[in-house]
């Protein structure tokens, strides 16, 4: 490093400029602009007027917002945790040795390649109340039918299942990679001490995987919180706005009801919740980056 010529800052700047220009121009400045927007009364094509906290008050006193927030939280809470359990089970199964492991890994990755739109097309047919083969299978098994077109809770269950299907590959890969990184010696030592399978899991696997589980879970909370396409294409938030999630609520406020002010307030509530969800992760990272530098 010491041998580098002087005036390096001038040389390095053009290298990092593109990324920063893109990120500032497309993400940071617009996001800051949204703060300004959230304190204005503004609809598309009209000049803005400062209204203080009015937009926030309006959003926070709108029962549809709370319904959307509740729906989002319920879907995330159910989907992400189920995903973690299945992903963990699969990671352990894979690491315990399976025939054709590489091929199976590719099979498990497959849903990662599928668009939300294509996935919704598949699931809408599979679960179609009249002609869906899964609906028929459920009826044949004597289980209660999933009336997702009428019953809001069922619509959300279907969205949750779809979310799990689309994102399980991510969760699985993170946990599997972490499991492969656990040194074999730990298990050997445990076994010579006469530990049972459960004890090995409880005292070796789980503590060693804890950081990866935490990271995967935080990532999934943050990304699941953006949930839009699945809901929009599956139920459009209906019937009667009962299956909306926060992103759908935001979209409708902005682009259907032309209320950019309250949409902006919703957006910042979303960012605030995302940051809140991520504090643990950010704190960890900050420790790491300051450590590295």
């Amino acid at each position: 490093m010491e041998r580098q010529p002087r005036g390096l800052a001038g040389v390095t700047l053009p290298f990092i400029a593109p990324v920063h220009v893109m990120v500032l121009g497309v993400i940071v400045i617009p996001s800051l602009f949204v703060i300004w927007l959230s304190f204005q009364s503004s609809t598309f094509g009209q000049s803005a007027r400062f209204v203080g906290w009015d937009n926030y008050v309006r959003v926070l006193s709108d029962p549809y917002f709370w319904r959307a927030l509740l729906n989002t939280v319920l879907v995330i809470a159910a989907a992400v945790h189920i995903e973690m359990l299945i992903g963990l089970g699969m990671a352990l199964l894979f690491s315990a040795g399976l025939p054709m492991r590489r091929l199976l890994l590719v099979v498990v990755l497959a849903p990662y390649a599928i668009s939300e739109v294509t996935a919704v097309a598949m699931w809408r047919f599979l679960f179609d109340p009249d002609v869906g083969p899964v609906t028929a299978a459920i009826a044949w098994l004597g289980l209660p039918a999933l009336d997702w077109t009428f019953v809001p809770a069922h619509g959300l269950i279907l969205v949750g299942l779809l979310t799990i299907w689309l994102h399980l590959p991510f969760t699985f890969i993170i946990l599997y990679a972490a499991r492969l990184a656990v040194p074999k010696e730990l298990y050997e030592a445990g076994r010579t001490d006469g530990a049972s399978l459960w004890q090995l899991f409880r005292h070796v696997t789980l503590p060693m995987l804890a950081p990866a589980i935490l990271i995967a879970m935080l990532f999934r909370y943050i990304f699941a919180f953006r949930l839009f396409s699945e809901v929009w294409l599956m139920t459009q938030g209906g019937p009667a706005r009962t299956t909306e999630v926060v992103a759908v609520y935001l979209y409708l406020e902005a682009f259907r009801y032309n209320s950019f002010g309250s949409a902006a307030a919703t957006a910042w509530i979303m960012v605030a919740i995302s940051l809140l969800l991520a504090t643990g992760y950010i704190w960890r990272l900050k420790k790491e980056t300051s450590h590295a530098a």
Partner: protein
């Protein structure tokens, strides 16, 4: 003991079958159904033996010509976004790897935090701005948006991959009088190719499949394939499932093959991306 082993083996087999069914059945069902004659699509239980037909594909060609324009738009946007993101990420990742001490830790930390902002948030100010610039319904808007939402991850990934390249190579090249750009292009990037591919895989899968931005920022000219698919799903005169399955198959097969071929890079990228930022 032998019974126990047998039971474990059996349990594993059941688990594997369930995993395969869960992951592949919806995809296989759509692809197979796109070749089924109209009535067989609705057969219960599903038919796995049938006379294959291309009727739905012909229908798709005749009645939804816009879908193929959508495919072309998706291709342009995907390639553009991947090129932009890989280039920008490689440039920045190189500097962050080699001149780390010159930057406050905050700089890369800032890039990571950016990933926390939900994409829908920026649509609010960007929508009027893009209209004002006359850029709505163009490929350029989507290319820039898709690339930007992956350059932060891309930069972190490239830094991780370039970190693994020995610095002695840099020193040798610099002594020979190579500029930073020559060093990057001639020495570093050929060795960091797996990283570039990993970044490209992320962007390609995202850009090819993305719905929200396409839905908000395009209307007719630059409409992508997922957007056209969404119109077919919510078609007012009822869904023609055969045609929808044909379109879904055409949309998903290229990206599915891509992910299968690139699975090593995807796995490497996912693990590096999650642990390093």
């Amino acid at each position: 003991m032998r019974l126990e082993r047998l039971l474990i083996g059996l349990g594993k087999m059941v688990a594997v079958i369930l995993i395969v069914l869960w992951s592949v059945f919806p995809i296989a069902f759509v692809v197979l159904s796109s070749f089924k004659p109209g009535r067989d699509i609705f057969a219960v239980p599903p038919k796995f033996v049938f006379t294959p037909t291309f009727a739905h594909y012909l229908n798709l060609w005749e009645r939804w010509g816009g879908f193929f324009d959508g495919l072309r738009n998706s291709l342009i946007v995907t390639v553009g976004a991947a090129l932009l993101a890989v280039t920008a990420s490689s440039l920045a990742g190189f500097i962050y790897s080699r001149h780390q001490s010159r930057f406050p830790a905050g700089s890369i930390f800032f890039l990571i935090c950016i990933r926390l902002i939900p994409p829908i948030v920026v649509t609010l100010p960007l929508f009027p701005m893009v209209n004002w610039l006359g850029l709505n319904d163009t490929h350029l808007v989507l290319i820039v948006l898709y690339a930007t939402f992956f350059v932060s991850l891309g930069t972190v990934l490239m830094r991780t991959f370039i970190d693994q390249i020995p610095r002695e190579l840099d020193e040798a090249a610099t002594i020979d009088g190579a500029s930073q750009l020559t060093l990057l292009v001639r020495v570093i990037l050929p060795l960091a190719a797996p990283g570039m591919i990993a970044v490209a895989v992320f962007v390609v899968v995202y850009a090819w499949n993305e719905f929200l931005f396409a839905f908000i920022f395009t209307a007719t000219k630059a409409k992508t394939a997922p957007f056209v698919l969404s119109e077919m799903i919510s078609s007012v005169d009822g869904v023609d499932w055969g045609v929808l399955f044909a379109a879904a198959t055409v949309q998903l097969i290229p990206v599915l093959l891509f992910v299968i071929v690139m699975n090593r890079f995807l796995v490497a990228g996912l693990t590096a991306g999650a642990t390093k930022g």
